[in-house]
């Protein structure tokens, strides 16, 4: 193996794999370096007893004929995978207040809401129309940002996008609806971004709804690890080199320009282009000689807030999804309608008022044995609340929190506790350990409107010559955004 490469990619997470495969398949000799012994980052799985557990993928958006599908096709990855389409968007439950399942179709959403909350059809249809327009604009514009004139002309003709894009989702929902229950149901995907409706950018809610309604939600047979491994295969088949168990200690520079990397064992590799899939904080403040990082970058980093992490309880259950009462794969359960209760809980170790309970055996992905099922219960949390614990109190706090998650899931799945065969709890500390992200942040920085690509044009720029950052820290978090942005951006790097 030669030590000199055209490009080095640090980290085999979703964006790192997508970038490495794009570069290598585009003819650049690329070295992919990964700390762990497998590819994937968060897109992975683990085994306990008879069960395999999906770590992070809730619903894969952008498949169908959407942007992610196009990228996976280009990278020759699609044929290596088996996709499982879901019928429903989600089931939203507030005990004693509402229990509704939205199908993954625009018209079906309007019908379902009309069934539960009659007399609102016109408002729902008009709201969905707005989501469609704003969502599709966001998805399309990101594909062609290198054509500024055309983009400007297009946006001039979209007054509703310009009027509503930057507003909080709550404000737009308030404008369309009187019934708080409908607003709650339509904002259920807030957790896929991490901001509750009053700070969730409407443009992001519209984008997420469009991804799943237009292109349908999917799961992967073999879980997200199958896709990570398939992207690695595509990279290797094209002649790429990967090194696992390789922790990059330093991005080497000469006269301010990137010349390669050094591992923590002292090994050095040379390349004039380095793509970092590591966190922006780690990349700029730990991996680089401080004198080469512009002040503007450091000032920008300080201005941004570490985003959400989460506490996730993974359950292997000795019963079928039907026996357990899971009729939809994705279940948003909240103890009450008040947003403040949920927001406060993100900074608290107290009982959670909110969970996303994903059952991977309504449409099975192959991880649970016959007649059993696999459920992951996710609550949005900020990492810093877990930092307040003394180390010896951590285990008890984690199980106590998980108990409160189980309490909430038992609203739709009574008796679930009696059939637990395996249970594992991951907290923000766990995510910090596996991702290496400060605060265990899963989507990088807090994704309120200030984090939008519209205001962070420098995130994808080479702020240190030769260095490019591709991850949830520099684009929207989630599978579709990170994989798609990394592939498109790396396509442009091929032209350098």
């Amino acid at each position: 193996m030669s030590d000199d490469y055209d490009a080095i990619v640090i980290g085999a997470g979703n964006a790192g794999l997508s970038s490495a495969a794009t570069l290598q398949r585009g003819g650049r000799r690329t070295l992919l370096l990964e700390r762990h012994n497998i590819p994937g980052g968060a897109a992975t799985s683990f085994v306990r007893g008879r069960f395999e557990f999906e770590v992070s993928l809730h619903q894969l958006g952008g498949m169908g004929n959407g942007p992610l599908r196009q990228v996976l096709d280009q990278l020759d990855v699609t044929r290596r995978l088996k996709f499982v389409e879901e019928r429903d968007l989600y089931r939203t439950v507030v005990p004693g207040v509402l229990d509704i399942t939205l199908p993954a179709e625009w018209q079906g959403v309007a019908d379902a809401i009309e069934d539960s909350f009659p007399g609102n059809r016109a408002r729902v249809e008009s709201f969905l129309e707005l989501c469609h327009e704003v969502g599709n604009w966001q998805l399309a514009v990101r594909a062609s940002l290198h054509q500024p004139q055309e983009q400007a002309a297009w946006l001039r003709g979209l007054p509703r996008v310009r009027r509503n894009g930057l507003r909080p989702a709550k404000e737009v929902l308030d404008e369309y609806f009187d019934d708080d229950r409908i607003k709650h149901v339509l904002a259920s995907y807030w957790s896929y971004n991490g901001q509750p409706p009053s700070t969730l950018p409407f443009m992001d809610l519209a984008r997420i709804l469009t991804l799943y309604l237009e292109y349908k939600p999917y799961h992967l047979h073999g879980g997200s690890q199958a896709m990570s491994s398939a992207m690695l295969d595509s990279f290797l088949e094209a002649g790429g080199d990967v090194r696992f168990n390789s922790n990059v200690a330093e991005i080497r520079t000469r006269q301010g320009t990137v010349v390669g990397v050094r591992l923590d064992n002292g090994d050095e590799y040379d390349a004039r282009m380095v793509v970092s899939n590591a966190s922006a904080v780690t990349t700029y403040t730990r991996m680089l000689d401080p004198t080469v990082v512009p002040d503007s970058v450091l000032r920008d980093l300080r201005s941004r807030r570490l985003g959400i992490s989460g506490t996730i309880t993974y359950l292997g259950l000795d019963a079928t999804a039907r026996e357990l009462g899971f009729t939809a794969g994705t279940n948003m359960i909240t103890s009450e309608l008040a947003e403040n209760t949920v927001r406060d809980s993100m900074f608290s170790l107290g009982p959670t008022p909110y969970v996303v309970a994903s059952c991977y055996d309504v449409n099975p992905i192959g991880f649970a044995p016959p007649r059993a099922s696999h459920v992951a219960i996710f609550s949005v949390q900020y990492g810093r609340v877990w930092d307040t614990l003394a180390p010896e109190d951590y285990a008890r706090a984690k199980y106590a929190y998980a108990q409160s998650q189980l309490d909430l899931v038992e609203v739709i799945s009574p008796g679930l506790r009696d059939v637990i065969e395996e249970a594992e709890v991951a907290t923000p500390h766990t995510l910090r350990r596996y991702l290496g992200h400060p605060g265990g942040a899963i989507y990088g920085f807090d994704q309120d409107i200030t984090d939008s690509w519209l205001f962070r044009d420098a995130d994808l720029k080479p702020n240190v010559p030769g260095l490019f950052l591709l991850s949830a820290w520099t684009t929207a978090g989630g599978y579709n955004p990170t994989i798609v942005t990394a592939a498109r951006f790396s396509q442009r790097l091929l032209q350098l």
Partner: protein, 384 residues
Amino acid sequence: MPAHPLARFFDHVDDVTAEIARREAGGVAHPAAVDDEIAVCHPKQLDLVVDEVITETATTKTFRLRRATGELLPPFQAGQYISLRLQIDGVRTSRAFSVSSSPTERRHYDLTVRRVPGGCVSNHLLDTITPGDRLVSSGPIGTFHHNPLFHGEDLVFLAGGSGVAPAMSMIREVVNRGLPRTLHLVYGSRRADDIIFRAELDQIARGNPEIIVDHVISEPDADWSGPTGFLSAAVVERLAGPLRGRMTYVCGPPAMYAYQLRQLDRMGHPRRRVRLEANGIALPAGEDRDWPAEVDPTAEVTVAVRGRGAFRTPRNRPLLDALEDNGFQPEAPCRSGECSMCRVRVVRGSVFTAAEARLRMSDRDFGFTHSCAAYPVTDVEVDF
């Protein structure tokens, strides 16, 4: 930071840029030393000093280890293990040992080690380690511990030989913390003088009604008046009563597990109420019934490590051990197929992987295996 040119087309754009300016003025640095934060509970390496060596029985010693820096050791959950990293006769290897001391005691970890016929690491420790010696280990790790989400508070522990070590930690924790938890230990040994922790166990059982201890001896002499034989369904039922779904932990020599699972099954005890401590690979490669019949397990094959060299090794030598014999060192805490840290990618050729390896669907599809539970069937090339 400059906004994208499209931003200015939007209503409320000035509100957003003003907010960004406000945050820039009041910003604080983020915690970037993530590795240091992680090391509090999960240090990459523990540097240990042997404080004391306690003779438990004629064949067993407890090594009391404290941190070389004098700091407290990381917290752990009773039942977890640490992996000692050693060099024996020029070969670097590792071995997992359950901590037998209480998790409430963080000034030291006790490792209780029994002599094993042919046991390279155990015997090395018993024969050579004395107070003041330095040892290096991983941090605490493992899934064999009480989980309050579903284990309940009424527990049974079936231990064989030195498999009592994690039970001892669990029992000590119940007593030290005054937990509202019942634990019935049914502990099998060959002879009465092989019983480890006998005096302490009996003393705890006398003073704590929630801890019940029964000793079962398989090769009793004339003086033994207690229960005899193996931990059969009849013996367990007689001593511990009907299991009625009580979570049942099993820890002992690898050969014990198949037998113990059959006994529990005979008692009608559901498998989901059983926890087995990972403890090596039960069957040598050639004796596994899934081993391809036409392949000679003792013949040699060539193992290449991508970009780093190649060596010859017999097929029935676990890949991990063969790699270590030849100077390669995947990280390998459990060596029992479970933890996945010793995972390798098989680039070329085929391997046999024992059932203990907890492979994932995608591992099989994309050529990953756990080297501690894998054996090279053909000439292979691996990468890690």
